[in-house]
Amino acid sequence: MKARWHWILLPSLLLSLGLLLASQIAFLRGGFFRDLRLGRMGTDFTLANYERFFTDPLYLDSLLLTVRLSLTVALLTLLVGFPIAYVLARLKSRWTLVLLAGIIAASFITIVIKVLGLIIIFSSGGFLNRFLMWTGIVSSPIAIVGNPGGVVIGLMHFTMGFSILLLYSVVQTIPRSLEEAAEIHGAPRWRVFARVILPLSLPGLVVTGLIVFNLCMGAFTSAALIGGGKVYTLPVLIQQTVINQTRYGMGATISAVLMLVTLAINGLSVLAMSKLDKRRSAVA
């Protein structure tokens, strides 16, 4: 019985490993050859593309922008999403299911359609801007197309739904009795939050934050549409480099750097988390 389980895994492993290696090698090796544009490449091994990436401000700025936007979205998504997930998980009402269904349905819908709606909401003659100008909050219409703040809003729409669902299942694993115990012993609400809820959900928060961060680092659709050709995150830059300029070598280099930086930031956060865990268990 035991031996058989190996074999059923093999076909899908071979297929996905084959596709992974073949596509990544076919593409990424191009980064090590001189880019002659129009899809042609030199024949000698060189690090010129990588050198260019780390000396040309165009690429460095794009990298910094991508990291900064992704961090902002990850933090904002946790800040907005966690209280909602918490309330939903503690709510004992038949409305919980309806609210959850609403969140799932909203995250069901492809981001292209949501971006379409966002652009209408923030269009200069749209009702939001007319309202804001009527109340005098702003003097000129706020636009989201072509500015990083708009991309943050678009990315939050991309990540919010499933973040709430993930955090919801995190809160569900914290027994309510722990909070009650703290309250019975006279802890005020904020201390229950700071000493019970937050520490117990910290691993879940970090995992969710990292997933959101990774998604944003690679997010293309909302960045391209809301960025309107002005906000160059790395994924947008990759598409431009490969499609508009047919520079496969440079495209491969940007992709490799994007993946390595994302991986490094993930590694560092996991490391920091385990350090923190160790220190805490040493104290306890």
Partner: protein, 279 residues
């Protein structure tokens, strides 16, 4: 003392209701606006929400190739979901039940497509397909099989993830009971194992469909003329050639998604979907 406590609790209740309401406004506003603006009969260069004059005329001006791309996206999504289950369920069973060295590495390999940005998957498959075309003379760019292979690569990890999640909670005694009562292994698998992991399979299939249906970057690179799934098509039209009939067909998608959620809830229960998670 008691009154103050009660007042505090009420204030907290009000605060959390407000917070949830604000979040729902945030999540739903773009959808409401798309549906609302699709019924606006005003001039076409300007999008109006709330609608200025009610009209359904955009619903009659949806281009046939938009419907075609929608049909393509649904067909592609369903095929991707089905094949991802065929590949993903055995992989998940193997990952949870087999004992072998390097299991963690194999699990990481199965998750690898999730770590690669979709744009990079799109470009690298484009490059791979060109290579295959050069060497074997097989054309994959702009064809249905080409899109399907790349979407399967994107979506299978989701099925593996959700089935693994179910299998880890699986009570092996149930299988032992069936075997000890004389059921064959095949029968045990069909009558005990499979029904118990089905919620994970459904959830995985749903994620796989959503990943395929919502994908823009991969389809953008690998699709071709007449072979562009819905999301990529809308993306292109929004960038170059906007038309209010896009709002009308988007409204169909929004209504369809809500209907799908309702039927999923009736058929398998939503908590099954939320509990098994997406990889």
């Amino acid at each position: 003392m008691m009154n103050r406590y009660r007042a505090l609790a009420r204030a907290r209740g009000v605060a959390s209701v407000t917070w949830i309401a604000a979040a729902f406004v945030f999540l739903f506003a773009p959808l409401v606006v798309v549906v609302g603006a699709s019924f606006d009969g005003g001039n076409r260069t300007f999008l109006n929400f709330p609608p200025q004059e009610f009209s359904t005329r955009w619903y009659f001006q949806i281009a046939p190739d938009l419907f075609q791309s929608l049909a393509l996206a649904i067909g592609l999504g369903l095929t991707t979901a089905f094949l991802a289950c065929i590949l993903g369920v055995p992989a998940a069973l193997g990952l949870v039940r087999a004992e072998f060295r390097g299991k963690a590495i194999v699990a990481a390999l199965f998750r690898a497509p999730l770590q690669i940005p979709a744009v990079v998957i799109g470009v690298s498959f484009l490059k791979l397909y060109y290579l295959i075309g050069d060497v074997f003379g097989l054309r994959l760019v702009g064809t249905l099989p080409g899109l399907l292979i790349a979407h399967l690569f994107l979506a299978t990890p989701y099925v593996i993830g959700s089935v693994v999640a179910v299998l880890q909670r699986f009570n092996l005694r149930l299988e032992e009971a069936a075997l000890s009562l004389g059921a064959s292994r095949m029968r045990t698998f069909r009558r005990v194992t499979l029904p118990l992991i089905m919620p994970g399979v459904y959830a995985g299939a749903m994620y796989a469909f959503l990943v395929s249906f919502g994908d823009v970057p991969v389809s953008l690179f690998l699709g071709g003329p007449g072979m562009q799934p819905f999301a990529a098509k809308i993306f292109n039209l929004m960038e170059y050639d906007f038309d209010p009939s896009l709002l009308a067909i988007s409204t169909y998608i929004i209504v369809g998604s809500f209907a799908a959620i309702y039927f999923l809830q009736r058929a398998i229960g939503l908590d099954q979907l939320t509990r098994s998670g997406g990889g």
